[in-house]
């Protein structure tokens, strides 16, 4: 933005510090954003972005430091007070009430009342319908319960609620993490409109192309403090600033494929969401899976892990047919799944890294039914080093680790259990760039050691750089296979959206 000098910042944080337990989440940090600008906050997970937004949005109090809104000093003790000062936040953890309707949620703070001063249901629904309609959202029924709509739709509702409140300052903490392309386009349209109206928009994202697309300025955070604010910043430079170490290339070189030996063969697998998918995964291969969300990838992955029922088709492992009727059977056969939502699928958050790592191999580390502590320790130490798990120690609660490190713990468990087929489902979603880099490295090393890896990602860029081949799924079928020269992000996206007739 050019003419920014002399403007009063819409929001300012001066010398903000905040500790959780003994951990300093924010350390004397400075931040300011101007009216009418879109300001991106970037940094590794745990760099303090979310804490900063929570403080500025009134959700948590700073231990020390000052918050100013429009030049006026604030001391928020609740989000409600921040709302009154004109600051609205879309938090990463959504704040919709699941068993109330979309309409009730949208109008929670400003109820539509009838003559008896009671809340008018019909009026609430009409008002909600209008709010959604004005913003071009007509696919969400205001009368539906929040639990009935999808995660992406909830995100949209949350955003609608925030931007229809005439906020002067809008904080969006990873607003796009559960949105698909079209919804991101919609959100950016709204952001541009609000910016033109003078709203100050502060957002975080791990997707660089989004930041490039919409941000006027970028502030980099590292270890609880700002590194600097930039109007121009390329990705490699940003990663270097975020990590304070030189990253030569985000993506490692592909491992060399040996003579292809099929490890996993899937023939016409059918079930809920999957309509006859066939594929062959080779030893040492990273087989990418691309396509739009909701086209059967998730279902396919869960079927291969025995966590969803297949109604037809066959799976062979090293040439022998296998029945994957439950995850235990899959793990015994050497198939492991790392899903994107490790919170609800696989890890026990309240216990330690060590216990999580050895959960599937308890028999192996036990003698006479009792866990042999020393042997367990050695195995875990080794795995933790190999995967570069960053934790306060092997005893640290998994729930306290960052998302990327939780992924590594789950992956480590499967490696200890000698799984040879790794199903990685969108494992880098919501993971910061530096940790992504480590995960990419890890994928390549594992492939180099002969593991067969099926890798779904919602980011075509990742697939294009990491996979040896990419299969694109559409409507539950494998719609295209890309390899060699044809393997580009553009081709993956094109194959994902093209309808049958146009092929």
């Amino acid at each position: 933005m050019a003419a920014t000098a002399g403007l009063v910042p819409a929001v300012e944080g001066i010398g903000l510090s905040r500790s959780y337990g003994g951990v300093r989440a924010l350390n004397n940090a400075m931040f300011s954003a101007l009216p009418g600008e879109v300001h991106a906050l970037v940094g590794e997970n745990g760099a303090g972005k979310s804490t900063l937004i929570k403080i500025l949005g009134g959700r948590v109090r700073a231990d020390t430091g000052t918050v100013r809104i429009m030049g006026e000093q604030m001391s928020f003790s609740s989000p409600h007070e921040a709302h009154r000062a004109g600051a609205r936040t879309v938090f990463q953890e959504l704040t919709l009430l699941p068993w109330m309707t979309v309409a009730e949620n949208l109008l929670l703070g400003r109820p539509v009342r009838n003559r008896l001063a009671l809340i008018d249901r019909a009026g609430t629904e009409r008002a909600a319908d209008q709010m959604l309609g004005t913003l071009g959202v007509t696919h969400i029924d205001p009368r539906a319960l929040v639990e009935e709509i999808s995660l992406a739709e909830r995100q949209v509702v949350e955003i609608v609620r925030a931007i229809t409140q005439d906020a002067k300052i809008l904080f969006l903490d990873e607003p796009t993490s559960s949105l698909v392309e079209r919804e991101v386009e919609w959100l950016f349209g709204q952001i541009r409109r609000l910016r033109a109206a003078g709203t100050s928009i502060i957002f975080t994202s791990h997707r660089w192309h989004e930041i490039r697309n919409i941000a006027d300025r970028i502030t980099v955070f590292r270890a609880g403090k700002e590194v600097g604010t930039y109007t121009e910043l390329d990705e490699d430079h940003a990663v270097t600033l975020m990590t304070d170490r030189r990253v030569d290339a985000l993506y490692p070189a592909r491992s060399v494929l040996q003579a292809p030996t099929p490890a996993l063969e899937v023939r016409r697998l059918t079930g809920a969401g999957v309509a006859g998918a066939s594929l062959t995964l080779h030893k040492g291969e990273v087989l990418g899976m691309g396509g739009l969300a909701g086209h059967g990838h998730r279902e396919l992955f869960f079927m291969l892990f025995g966590a969803a029922r297949a109604t037809g088709g066959a799976v062979t492992l090293d040439g022998r047919p296998v029945r994957l009727s439950n995850p235990r059977a899959a793990i015994r056969a050497g198939i492991a799944l790392v899903p994107e939502d490790r919170k609800s699928e696989g890890l026990l958050l309240s216990i330690g890294v060590r216990e999580n790592l050895t959960l599937s191999i308890l028999r192996r580390v036990s003698r006479w039914g009792v866990i042999a502590k020393r042997q367990e320790q050695v195995l875990c130490r080794h795995m933790s080093d190999r995967l570069k798990i960053r934790a306060a120690g092997l005893g640290a609660r998994v729930g306290a680790l960052s998302g990327g490190n939780q992924q590594k713990v789950l992956l480590g468990r499967w490696l200890l259990a000698d799984c040879r087929i790794l199903l990685l489902y969108d494992v880098t979603r919501g993971v910061d760039v530096a940790t992504k880099h480590e995960i990419y490295d890890l994928i390549m090393r594992l492939a180099g050691q002969g593991k067969a890896i099926l890798f779904y990602s919602s980011e075509a860029e990742e697939l294009a750089h990491l996979a040896h081949r990419v299969l694109v799924m559409r409507e539950g079928r494998i719609a295209a296979e890309l390899s060699g020269e044809a393997l580009t992000a553009e081709r993956i996206v094109a194959a994902a959206v093209r309808d049958h007739h146009a092929v």
Binding site: S78, L97, L135, E185
Partner: protein
């Protein structure tokens, strides 16, 4: 459409709207399910009554059923408010004991006395609920522990007030709250339901539901969590005290221990009525329906000549069947949706 919509539309060409009937069925499934259970238990009751008495239940049966249910219906309505906030109120039985005992020793046969005593008893119920609410909300103590303790305390107070069963309830008081000449108490059933209907549309009602949905999100939305949580216990206290009055009126005398069984029965009633023990889902109307289901089951066992000692055994069996059926139907509904 205003030009703002041009900023980008998310619209597929069609609007996503469920048909009104399907919508109604889906969103009121728990209450409809408990109505269904009520219908089934009513049918069984009528069948057994017919088989053993050789005629259909008449006015007398309807009147006793309603009068016998009112104490539990009121207590269950109160219990549902607390459970909606993710809490639980075990002291309901103790408050009923207190209210019952005080009614037996204070009520005189004059309009003034009756009004005054009633108000006082309801206020005492409110105070008892306030103690629970303050300890839970301000003291940040576990509801189950707090109300377990206050249950014993309130029971003790009740025994102190009325050491032996006795006292007397004026006939005119019985005629108002538990008239034996006709099912006039249905008025109170309707009143309870109407109160819930209005409450659900009040700021406090929404706040209580919101807390049960997600306390953090509720506070982020500007809801005064502390106040709403305390009020849930206060209202539960008032409703439990009202339950004690109904009990005293229908028993025409006081007994400082008859309220004890209401603690667990009120919880059973709200579960049968489709209130989620995890909070945030359900209604007081469900609690009232649940109370009627329990009375039906008790009647059923009576006319089936089941020994009273086995009553709780069969109540337990019915509860299990009901819970399994409810979750089974819920599962099927979700699979179809």
């Amino acid at each position: 459409m205003p030009s703002e919509a041009l900023a980008g539309s998310l619209a597929p060409a069609v609007k996503a709207r469920r048909r009104p009937l399907a919508h109604l069925l889906m969103q009121n499934a728990p209450v409809l399910l408990s109505l269904l259970m009520l219908a089934v238990s009513l049918f069984l009751y009528v069948a057994i009554f017919l088989a053993t008495q050789h005629h259909l239940p008449g006015g007398f049966e309807i009147t006793t059923t309603v009068n016998n249910t009112m104490p539990l219906a009121a207590a269950a309505a109160g219990q549902s408010l607390v459970v909606l906030t993710r809490g639980i109120d075990l002291s309901v039985g103790g408050i009923i004991d207190m209210s019952n005992a005080i009614a037996a020793v204070t009520l005189q046969d004059s309009a003034g006395s009756m009004i005054l005593a009633t108000m006082m008893i309801l206020l005492i119920g409110a105070a008892a609920g306030l103690v629970n609410g303050l300890l839970v909300a301000v003291g940040r103590l576990q509801p189950i522990l707090v109300t377990l303790a206050t249950l014993s305390i309130y029971q003790g107070i009740a025994i102190r007030i009325l050491p032996q069963p006795g006292g007397s309830i004026p006939q005119s008081y019985t005629a108002i709250l538990a008239n034996t000449n006709g099912p006039w108490s249905l008025v109170y059933v309707v009143l309870l339901c109407a109160l819930w209907w209005a409450f659900r549309r009040s700021g406090l009602g929404v706040a209580i539901l919101a807390i049960g949905n997600d306390p953090v999100a509720a506070s982020s939305n500007g809801i005064n969590v502390l106040r709403a949580r305390i009020m849930a216990y206060v209202l539960a206290g008032i409703l439990a005290a009202a339950g004690g009055l109904f009990l005293a009126a229908s028993a025409t005398g006081g007994d400082a221990t008859t309220g004890d069984s209401f603690t667990l029965r009120s919880i059973v009633a709200i579960v049968l009525g489709g209130v989620s023990l995890f909070g945030g889902r359900g209604s007081a109307i469900g609690g009232v329906i649940g109370a009627f289901i329990i009375t039906m089951i008790v009647n059923l066992l009576f006319f089936a000549h089941v020994n009273q000692l086995y009553e709780s055994f069969f109540e337990g069996v019915f509860l299990l069947i009901a819970v399994v059926a409810a979750s089974g139907i819920g599962y099927l509904a979700r699979r179809r949706a």
